[in-house]
Chain length 569, copies 2
């Protein structure tokens, strides 16, 4: 039975659902409408176009085989009818039709549907600030914005820039400005870290230090109060603490699902916006589906609502919708929240919950931090990788893993391996035994992911007790109070410079010599053990435990973490 | 209660089990014995030492913090007693003691144990050939062999070399010889492909072509009958088909688990060698554990026996044994068979079963082949990746995924993600919805792994029907018989050179124009559809199906696969 499908929205989810449906039901028809003249572009590529990594704006509109994805392409290649500059103004569910308005003429008409897909996406959050409308202030939401920004940088009009918001887009744009164009770039963030809620403060600080080395300045805990300009062009950003010169401003303060059309049609939407759908990506009207940046899905770890506006979600959900439009039975259960972002020569990635998110969701959890080489220590391309694992204490269930590493695929590979199994409620033991493919150019014999789980195991059974670099910093900052004994258990050659620099506070006994020098270690205060990465200090902790020391603290990640975190030792 | 543990074997598993146990029971004692003077070396690093990637042999013996892992290290740092040059000659289970022989003096004595670990490893398979004892013939089984080989190459004594066996070590050594030293290198392999049983003929051929471009010659289906020399030094390798000059010969024809000691002690061993252990890595004697290269474990896909001698297995099993020696309850369920090997600028990796292995294990399975970019098509560092998925037809269960890609971490990352979930018997739908972290520098919006599962779905429901590059080659080789109509559905600019080169056989109608040119396509013979990677030809297949064509074949992987496979078109 031939049917007519209407898709509202021509970017990411819309085209995917439309094309998948047409492949399953070539005899049916699809009309996809979009209020813009731009459809099916790779919005996630915008920062890379601004940076120049992507040389030609057209690459964001073309297929991998260089065909422009315009209405003609959709008609000829995909068999999908597209109406651009056509805005959906109302969904008339009773008569199964959509009221549309011609954006140029204002003329309205109706398109009837058998089934409807709402793919209205999300819009950047506006801050309602004085000066937000000035030229040079942008939300980087479509390729036209990107072209404008890049053109003005290329013309030399942008010597300094302020980014508001240190999430994905803010950081990617900061890199584009600073790294490729040498623009003096500042990021103003209302919380006290980059990537808030997505990574721990420790990982965030490591990535932040790296970006600072790349020339980006950060201002945390600051609120922008106004944007000022001259002759209609932006000149300054005013925060509650300072004034920053800015010839370009990017507002990257989050995006908001566009669900008003759905709401006005009586469909269920979340209180904070976002269409509510079931596991078939169906709204409460069985003939209306929705997906992509405008929906709320289920977080498979917390079972609460999740808003995860990523191109990957739109694509996968689009396929599910396309299948179900053709009377299929495809499911999209929900998300575990995987993400990755490249920041200069590094990457931050994660899946599942951070410790903060886990505790907010009611889990009694703990997190452990590990720094280790990402491949065999003798293999020349090895790099240090930092991973953090969040575990529910009682059940040993792994709730999430986040990491900071180099910019290649090694870090995201580990995160994806965890993500693959995360909804199956793995325990520490599952990750400890996860079968990572081994060969020296790709992994250590005990892969960092296995070691991370082993560390969590050792922490939970109580034989490895410690702090991360942030915990170390707190103790070190108070070293003059003499409450802790800092003991470097590396070889003398490694420890010496720190002993010389801090003769009163930094002590050294190589771990292999510990048993012979126990009388040099105080028993009346916490002993803080430090080595390169936390492995030898863990061995030292076991020795001291065995010898009856009562309060021994292992610095997880050791000097490697301390340095990346930027503690002055 | 303090106990004494004896560990037979000081490489990989032995040290891991010993050290883990000592950390859990610092008050107990461990004696680790080894017949060699070399212990705890990174055997997997040998090819990289030979190639020069690892500059100093000592790096194979040192920790990541540059301490030599010798008996003194184990005593001081790990609290483990090591006796080198001490060979275990008999296990006296009744009296719980091991008879040992001093390798230098021949003197025998006994070491008593509370619990015993057999970590005797594996030995290279000798071929029993005339000439196998000649100088210059090596099995690359320890760093001393490696040093000898590298020294003789560095001295200019090796202009050509023959490798016998195209498995991991053979291929890694071939790369070391050819790539770093410019040695004329030939590989003789008894089967008809590289990495037999581990990857499909299609993937094997792609990697082989790449290695050939790097200067390695391959001779498949050949048996070495003799090795010949002059003045005690190797000069030639004779096969059943040819004579190859060889100033160095590497025999890499597999390794054999060393389980005689266990067998003689009445422990259960496999018919073909290998100690049999349960999921706690325990033999049939509850006080004796075994692991590493000398054991047989369970294949979690087939439930049959598996021999997977990898350093990663030894490390993970070693930890399990160490835990259980300390009355823990750690498990090693078995393996899914993950592997990866770097071959020049490429990598081959896989997990689970190939189609051949699946069929041999009794599964009614099918495999699909996909070539796609490993990240956003507009991102400059994108590369083509080829993945193959093996699926049980009736249950849609994923039995394995193998791949061929560039040498970075992108390929192994996908394999590890599948490996992570493989023992949970995932279906196609689990991989289709696997939540790969997305950002353009790391993945396409629809990650290749998701697309691979979608392809398998489309194949199983019958809307994508096709062959891989090997199937295409068979049809193309018989093109003069006129039994198939080859139809390139790319744009004219892409297809033109092939049409011009093969005017009789190569036809072109761009996919978007197909509906207007249906009368040019014959209905009395199979239509073989070709595009860049198989995506547009799949769209074309749907159109032709819809228009009533009865026999349409899509070339999976398209021209990209055809070229990598080396078909002359």
């Amino acid at each position: 039975m031939s049917q007519h499908i209407v898709v509202i929205g021509g970017v990411a989810l819309g085209p995917k659902a439309a094309c998948r449906f047409k492949r399953l039901e070539p005899g049916s028809t699809v009309t996809m409408i979009d209020q813009s003249s731009l459809i099916s572009y790779g919005g996630c590529g915008i920062p890379y176009y601004v940076s120049g990594d992507v040389s030609d704006e057209r690459e964001l509109f073309t297929t991998s085989f260089h065909m422009v994805r315009d209405p003609k392409f959709f008609k000829e290649v995909k068999g999908v009818d597209v109406q651009i500059l056509t805005k959906a103004t109302k969904i008339d569910r009773e008569n199964k039709r959509v009221e549309v308005e011609n954006v140029n003429t204002g003329e309205t008409s109706f398109i009837e549907y058998d089934k409807l897909v709402i793919a209205t996406g999300a819009a950047p959050r506006k801050l309602g600030l004085p000066g937000e409308e000035l030229a040079g202030v942008s939300y980087v939401c479509n390729p036209h914005d990107a072209t404008k920004i890049r053109d003005s940088i290329a013309k030399g009009e942008v010597g300094n820039a302020v980014i508001i918001g240190a999430g994905f887009i803010g950081l990617e744009m900061a890199e584009a400005f600073a790294d490729m164009w040498g623009v003096e770039t500042s990021v103003v963030e209302i919380t006290d870290q980059i990537m808030p809620r997505l990574v721990s403060p420790a990982l965030a600080t490591m990535a932040q230090k790296h970006m600072e080395e790349g020339g980006v300045d950060f201002y945390f805990g600051e609120t922008v109060t106004a944007i000022e300009g001259e002759n209609g062009k932006v000149k300054r950003v005013i925060t509650n603490k300072r004034t920053l010169d800015a010839e370009a401003v990017i507002i990257a303060a989050g995006i908001i699902p566009q669900s008003d059309l759905a709401k006005e049609a009586g469909l269920n939407v979340s209180e904070r916006g976002g269409v509510l759908v079931d596991e078939f990506m169906r709204t409460n009207d069985p003939d209306i589906y929705s997906g992509g940046d405008c929906v709320i899905v289920k977080n498979l770890i917390t079972n609460g609502p999740a808003f995860l506006p990523l191109g990957s979600m739109a694509n996968r959900q689009g396929r599910v919708i396309g299948t179900n439009l053709a009377d299929g039975n495809a499911r999209f259960d929900g998300v575990v929240g995987s993400f990755v972002v490249k920041l200069f020569e590094s990457s931050l990635a994660g899946t599942g919950l951070t410790l903060e998110a886990a505790e907010a969701a009611g889990f009694d959890a703990v997190s452990v931090l590990l720094i280790q080489l990402d491949r065999a220590h003798f293999y020349p391309t090895k790099e240090l990788m930092t991973l953090e694992m969040v575990v529910e204490k009682e059940t040993r269930r792994v709730l999430g893993v986040q990491g900071y590493g180099s910019a290649g695929d090694a870090m995201v590979g580990r995160i994806n391996a965890v993500a693959a199994i995360l909804k199956n409620t793995p325990t520490i033991d599952d990750i400890s035994n996860m079968e990572m493919a081994y060969s020296p150019p790709f992994a250590a014999a005990m892969d960092i992911l296995n070691t991370l789980a082993n560390l969590a195991d050792n922490v939970l059974i109580g034989i490895n007790r410690g702090v991360g670099p942030d915990g170390f910093k707190k103790m070190w900052d108070q070293r003059d109070q003499g409450e802790c004994h800092f003991l470097d258990c590396r070889e003398v050659a490694d420890a010496n410079e720190y002993v010389e620099r801090n003769p009163e506070h930094w002590h050294n006994i190589p771990q292999g010599k510990l048993r012979e020098h126990l009388d040099e270690i105080p028993t009346d205060k916490p002993v803080v053990l430090i080595c390169n990465t936390g492995a030898r200090s863990y061995e030292a902790q076991i020795t001291l435990d065995d010898k009856g020391f009562k309060d021994v603290i292992n610095v997880q990640g050791g000097m490697a973490a301390i340095k990346k975190y930027g503690v002055d030792v």
